[in-house]
Amino acid sequence: VSGPPLAAVLAAALTGALAGALAGTLLPGAVARFGAHRRPVPGPVEPVTAARAVEPPPPVTEEQAIGPLVVGRPPSPVACRLLPVSSSATASFAAEAGAFDDIAVRVASCRGRSHMERAEALQDAYVVLAEPHGAWLVAAVADGVGGSPNGAEAARAAVLSVARRAPDWLAAHDPSGVASWRPLFAGVAGDVEGETRGLDGPRPLLGGDRPATTLAVLVAFGGGGDAHRVCCAAVGDTEVLRVSLAAPGGSRCWALLPEPDAGGDEGVSSLPRGVDQLRCAEIEWSSGVLLVASDGFAAALGPGNALEARLAGLWDQPPSPLELLRHVDFRLATYSDDRTVVALWRGINDQRLS
């Protein structure tokens, strides 16, 4: 029996499904990543303000369309074990895409190889909230802390808490400093504590911890003209980065938040206990790609290394959701953690989903 390779058929089917489901703008108030919690909120949607139109991408070859991006010595193969219960709520891969104002939004989330090997769930979670009238976009990424059981639950509780709290918080606060971010993070910490209470279970004597999560939150304000005001804050090593694609010799990443995380030798800061380790920053965003990225991806970006260099060519325009998934699911020996990236391009009339 002859026919197209199964991988190509699957890729085409997935592309079509994603494009059909996600084309256009982000759902206002949509909580991404958790199928069971997806709840579209009806309301008017502002038309996209196109600062520059981007041509639809050239067709990719089958070779480009499948398989992860390899950026160095590839890791050794590992056995991928199925979770005891697999469902859309515990998916190993997730992708999202759409537009907000003149911002193209892409999200990709992948279960790490080490977790696949151990039949452990993806411990990252994300949420993207688009204010229905275009006032603001909130993106948050949480990474269940390694060593703690139920880290996935803590991460999920954190982003759902951000989704629940952010509208009222933004109505009452201008996120311009630690003092204004603190109510949001303190509230999230309380929610994480409450949602994960009783989930301790068996844990290592040393190095384990109660369910905990890092959290980074970015707010991009709409209607910015040539630049958008962007405010961000984080606890732990989930980072907010700006990627310059015009740097000589490739791209270049800068962490927007002050480094390093103050967690020190004993691990990264995390919620619910680490509210005092909150760091924040504010920029006028006029160029480059903004990322909110869990450590599994951010840690692989280094000055002049292969991944950072490759981004220049790959991200000059917003990639399709499946392409971004390939990039985020990169292969490099010793990098085996979960990865989640929310990426924002400014001044884009997003046509890559059409």
């Binding site: 160095g72 010595r73 890791p75 050794s76 193969p77 590992v78 190889r113 080490s114 090997e117 151990r118 390694g146 060593g147 844990r203 290592p204 004597l205 040393l206 190095g207 384990g208 911890d209 962490a255 480094e259 390093p260 995380d261 967690g263 020190g264 030798d265 004993e266 691990g267 450590d295 951010a298 840690a299 692989a300 970006l301 280094g302 000055p303 290394n305 292969a306 991944l307 950072e308 490099l332 020996a333 010793t334 990098y335 085996s336 953690d337």
Partner: protein, 245 residues
């Protein structure tokens, strides 16, 4: 000492530091009813530990292992390398239990190893698993704490960029106070484990080596030191761990 982001391959250095003094191998030093000599267990368990790490692909590509023995003098039994590159020589034993010399040598070895590794890798904080069955002794008499505390302090000084986290495992005659002095603090706990008084030393050594294989794999997966108490051992240096559980 949180590493700056480099995007390089990561390396987790682990040093298994084993006491091979006379009490580990001389039957005359073993209590009545001791089934197997601790040294014999160690001799078999170290290759098994390395073999187990080699078989775990995720661990084998990120772990760097060294085995150092100490008695009359420290000896680098296995230089720092990946588990799948190891050719292990025969383990040799000695007589004394010279803590000062091994702490002094460890600082030199860690400096050399980690500085070399850092040229090409993102090197994580080294971990030393320190296994001993006796009080510090030079062979001519006890080694006072004043003699070995200084090189230990230099090894663990905040100014030393490769200062390790030391997990101490004690059996036989070693005193809890000594172990607690050697072990470093982690999550506000001293990383010291004492064998239960009634435990068979050979069995405890086997349990320690098993715990090390789990700890190394978990540490690489989680990105931070994770240790479980070996069977037949208890956490020394206070009761906070019990309260935290």
């Amino acid at each position: 000492m949180r590493p700056m982001r480099t995007g390089r391959e990561r390396a987790f250095p682990f040093y298994v530091v084993c006491d091979v003094s006379q009490s580990m191998w001389d039957p005359a030093f073993q209590p009545p009813g001791q089934l197997v000599l601790p040294f014999d267990v160690l001799r078999e368990a170290i290759p098994n530990l390395l073999f187990g790490l080699e078989r775990n692909a995720t661990v084998a590509e990120a772990a760097m292992i060294s085995v150092i023995t100490f008695a009359d003098a420290p000896h680098v039994h296995l230089g720092l390398m990946r588990p799948d590159e190891v050719v292990l020589p025969t383990l040799e034993h000695g007589y004394a239990t010279d803590y000062a010399a091994v702490f002094r040598d460890l600082r030199t070895v860690l400096s050399h190893d980690c500085e070399g590794l850092a040229k090409t890798h993102d090197v994580r904080r080294p971990a030393v698993f320190f296994l001993t069955d006796g009080q510090p002794d030079t062979g001519h008499g006890p080694q006072p704490e004043g003699v070995w505390a200084a090189p230990l302090a230099q090894l663990t000084a905040p100014a030393f960029p490769w200062r390790p986290q030391i997990v101490a495992f004690g059996l036989g005659d070693v005193e809890e106070r000594t172990l607690c002095r050697v072990a470093t603090a982690h999550d506000a706990l001293r990383l010291a484990f004492m064998a239960d008084a009634a435990a068979d030393s050979g069995a405890v050594v086997g349990a320690i080596m098993h715990a090390l294989s789990v700890a190394i794999a978990d540490t690489i997966t989680r990105g931070k030191l994770v240790v479980q108490a070996p069977a037949g051992m208890r956490l020394a240096c206070g009761a906070r761990a019990t309260a935290e559980r």
